[in-house]
Symmetry: C2
Amino acid sequence: MTEGRTGEVLGYGYGAPDTAHSPLDMEGLDLLKQTVLFTGEDERYLRMAGEVLEDQIEDVLDVWYGFVADHPHLIHYFSGPEGPDADYLERVRKRFHQWILDTCRRPYDQEWLNYQQEIGLRHTHEKKNETDGSHGTPNHIGMRYMIGFVYPITATMKPFLANKGHSAEEVDKMHQAWFKSVVMQVTLWCLPYARDGYF
Amino acid sequence: MTEGRTGEVLGYGYGAPDTAHSPLDMEGLDLLKQTVLFTGEDERYLRMAGEVLEDQIEDVLDVWYGFVADHPHLIHYFSGPEGPDADYLERVRKRFHQWILDTCRRPYDQEWLNYQQEIGLRHTHEKKNETDGSHGTPNHIGMRYMIGFVYPITATMKPFLANKGHSAEEVDKMHQAWFKSVVMQVTLWCLPYARDGYF
């Protein structure tokens, strides 16, 4: 099985029949969009961001992976008893790559909503490591780090959005659209973490 | 009992003996700070933001309240059977005012951590409306809106930070410090929402 941008991304199951089903419907998503002020304009700027980022994604991932590698409490989640698991890091990296593209290009419909539920579940006790089989890192990702990541995942993106000669206003609008989408997605990923009736 | 900036803020119990106790200690907070890249520099810029915002807080609250008032799914949380509860809105507003000052000026110590737990609990089924007695709005705030608010509470702040003639770099640093602190606090407020062992 090939991996990489044009090949198959292992463990990536967007739209697959066994993907989780979100308890939210389009109406629930619409209220969440309103809460983060996400509009059609943001969709257009995310498409623009997709063009801008397309050939820079590996550089973005270098920054994010460098950040994780610098913090023992974060690299912990990519480690087994023998230390960081290079194969696992690489598989996650390909899904992370695809996630950036999906954030910019996918329509935010029921299928997308279902995949956010799948992503959330995969970070919890419930589904952790089902995806990649046993690789020695059965670590549930604490909700604190799911939410905390809103900051680095948002702040580090701006210089990349500015790398292709767009106006300051365009860069800012792409960045705001990215920020809104990240907040919305992190919110959805936290759904399986919440007590019943608390989401 | 007087209310307002220099008087007593009803229901504000910072450091009070009956405040909740956070399950997190300083070590847990430190890891969260690292996750959102919060450093001593951010503390200094939050102090600066406190100076900049001090006489603009009511204007900030006008923006936030306008945003809530424009969205039925948000004003719902301030409403009873008769519609929006003006007294309740006013009491919350004074605590929101104080929260902006606390975010900029309080040391982020165990007492602060405990008060974040108290704030979180007060938004859940567990403690909702204990603070203000029965005012007909027994509405638990869904975790989705706690996290979703990261965006409006962060994005709307920047113009106010730019209102006092600071350099673009200073404004940006104040804003980044604000953003980091909001992400960190929202994370802490979500602790009581999480399933046992999921935070």
